[in-house]
């Protein structure tokens, strides 16, 4: 369920690092908690984001929820398909429905995030 190559936050974001680029999304647990997602708000390309600060928001039929940047850096790409098809976040949150790509400014931040196993323990305990 939770891919080994991703790292996870307590706020239920994930990040995958390839070279100097981090791809960010929300976890399957997050999409399940939110339910049917109807809007995704993301920063503009070029925005500088800081770990732990608000990156954007996702809104479901029930509620709106902030997304926090799991790592710091500059936004280099946003997933445009989510603007027209936010429901993809309910279908493939760890894959096709990534949110943004960031050029990492503090690559060491990644290593400090939770592993898949740690995250699964974390959400198990949260329940």
């Amino acid at each position: 369920m939770y891919p080994e190559n991703l790292r996870y936050t307590k706020e239920h974001e994930w990040v995958r690092v390839e070279g100097n680029t981090g791809t960010i999304g929300i976890t399957d647990h997050a999409q399940q908690e939110l339910g049917d997602i109807v809007y995704v708000d993301m920063p503009k390309v070029g925005t500088r984001v800081e770990q732990g600060k608000t990156l954007g928001s996702v809104e479901s039929v029930k509620a709106v929820s902030d997304i926090y940047a799991p790592v710091s850096g500059d936004v280099v790409e946003i997933n445009q398909t989510l603007a027209d098809a936010p429901e993809k976040l309910n279908e493939d949150p760890h894959g096709e429905a990534w949110l943004v790509k960031i050029r990492l400014s503090v690559p060491a931040e990644f290593e400090k995030l939770m592993s898949a196993a740690e995250y699964q323990t974390y959400i198990g305990a949260e329940k």
Partner: protein, 367 residues
């Protein structure tokens, strides 16, 4: 940290868990907010049939030779005018005309009324009515004796008819009949909170699980879905039905909430009547209005509403409307600004978003 009080569970809690429903704390009750998804469940009710466990709702029974007089003293609508077997929407008010609760009154017999009240208000309602009881009547808090299931949607009558010898087509809207459902005595009411056709049945808790399964089997050919409180909320909002704690509460009067039709000022004395008469003479200051967002976003409960660039009111409920594919909501506006077609702005996360006031209900079923 103080331990949270234990949540109350309905007799169907294990059924919801087995269905892997997402359970939430709803006014102290552990209730299913969704099973397969709010949108999916919403569409099932609009197009076919859905089944809701609404056992958290409270029941209060009023019996005795002066049950009708007590009823008409505590509630705004004219209870004694009901026929036996008829139900009506009504309100319990404080003397200042704010809501204690909104309720459904069923006249079972000349000396027996059966009330369906909001879950989180049931203890308060019971104490309120009991405190006003100077009549030959007994007030009983009866929530433990009933499980309430709502079977809602255009296929609700066909679904429920399979399980009962009672001719459902003979029960008019807002009437009820006592009969047998799946071999068990039940109160079958042609009522609902979805804006769709349907029934609400009151059954003994011990039979709840069995009857739930029988209803699911009976509705299978129509694609029945178990539905949670999430869909119940989007459905009632499309129908512009009030929800206690949102459109109505102790600070709001029925006139402000657009519920003039459940207030019968000429029926005789009742709690809140004087304040309502004063309000009628001086005019109300604010009024509940429907709105549609024109800009992007959802105006949610508690968001500020601006008219002409200045704060003027607040959103009471807001959601995407699955049936209309728009973002809708209800809000309070100053009475002199409360006309349909007015441009307003909803402050959505510190950004003003354009909206327009519209007629309600947002959704009306085809008859």
């Amino acid at each position: 940290m103080a331990a949270a009080p234990a949540l109350r569970a309905t007799p169907l809690n294990s059924v919801h868990r087995a269905l892997r429903a997402k359970l939430v704390d709803f006014g102290g009750w552990e209730m299913p907010v969704q099973y397969s998804g709010i949108l999916h469940e919403h569409h099932a009710v609009r197009s076919a049939v859905g089944l809701f466990d609404v056992s958290h709702m409270g029941e209060i029974e009023i019996r005795g030779p002066e049950a009708g007089q007590l009823m008409d003293f505590v509630a705004t609508n004219h209870a004694q005018k009901l026929h036996i077997g008829q139900a009506q929407y009504s309100a319990l008010l404080y003397p200042h005309a704010g809501f204690v609760d909104d309720i459904l009154v069923h006249k079972v017999a000349e000396d027996h009324y059966f009330l369906c009240v909001n879950a989180s208000n049931q203890d308060k309602d019971f104490e309120h009515i009991r405190g006003l009881n100077q009549f030959q009547a007994e007030v009983e808090s009866a929530g433990q004796r009933y499980v309430q299931l709502a079977i809602q949607g255009p296929k609700a009558p066909a679904t429920l008819q399979k399980l009962t010898p009672v001719d459902l087509s003979a029960i008019r809207y807002y009437w009820f009949a006592d009969g047998i459902v799946a071999g068990t005595p039940a109160r079958i009411a042609h009522t609902g909170y979805t804006g769709e056709d349907g029934f609400e049945i009151y059954i003994p808790p011990g039979e709840a699980e069995r009857i739930w399964r029988r209803v699911m089997e009976a509705g299978a050919e129509f694609g029945i879905l178990p539905c949670g409180l999430g869909a119940r909320n989007t459905l009632r909002l499309e129908a512009a039905m009030s929800l206690y704690g949102h459109e109505i509460d102790a600070s709001i009067s029925p006139f402000e909430a657009g519920l003039d039709w459940i207030v019968k000022l000429n029926k005789g004395g009742f709690v809140g009547r004087e304040a309502l008469i004063r309000q009628k003479e001086s005019g109300i200051r604010r009024k509940l209005m429907g709105f549609e967002l024109r800009g992007r976003g959802i105006g949610r409960d508690g968001y500020e509403v601006y008219v002409g660039g200045a704060p003027a009111g607040w959103v009471t409920s807001g959601s995407p409307s699955p049936a209309l594919n728009k973002n809708i909501g209800l809000c309070y506006l100053p009475a002199d600004r409360a006309q349909t077609g007015r441009a307003i702005q909803v402050m959505i996360r510190h950004q003003p978003v354009d909206a327009v006031t519209v007629e309600t209900p947002f959704y009306k079923r085809a008859k």
